[in-house]
Symmetry: C2
Subunit: 96 residues, 2 copies
């Protein structure tokens, strides 16, 4: 079963920041400046934590994993936006 996660990071060094950004693009959808939205199985989550674990400096940087709940349930209805619209990671996109 997959849960929706927000992965939010505060990285003190630009080089590490770029590395975290590039790594996260393999795991989910870029939502805001330092936030990705991901749909993880427990194995995906472990892989993501492992990949970031090798990049960050543990005393200076921080990555938060926020579990929003099952993708088909709660995780699908808990984010609302003010200003620019929020498009759900699953939102169908129409190619014209």
């Amino acid at each position: 079963m997959r849960n929706t996660f927000l992965v939010c990071y505060d990285i003190c060094d630009d080089k590490r920041l770029r590395k975290v950004f590039k790594t996260m693009r393999d795991f989910g959808d870029h939502l805001q400046y330092s936030i990705f939205e991901c749909q993880f199985t427990p194995v995906d989550l472990a892989k993501c934590r492992h990949a970031l674990n090798d990049i960050i400096h543990h005393h200076e940087d921080q990555v938060l994993f926020v579990d929003l709940g099952p993708v088909e349930g709660r995780g699908d209805r808990v984010i609302s936006a003010l200003g620019k619209a929020y498009t759900n990671i699953d939102a169908a996109c129409i190619i014209v």
Copy 2:
């Protein structure tokens, strides 16, 4: 009843960014660069949205309200950290 919310913002202009940051300090705990953790009643949430609504430029900026669930329930157990520790908004602090 109060729910735990993350308020995450992407603001394109430094002046508006500082205004949003100052406003958010009245509503919750600064978690990461552009993320606050808040415990909202429905009225608090409406007040926060209203306050930010007057600051941001709706075509350029974005504020996300992420509902993590009831403070005494789900909202209390869904954030984990890699690197610097995450301290829960309710965590008892010992004054020495």
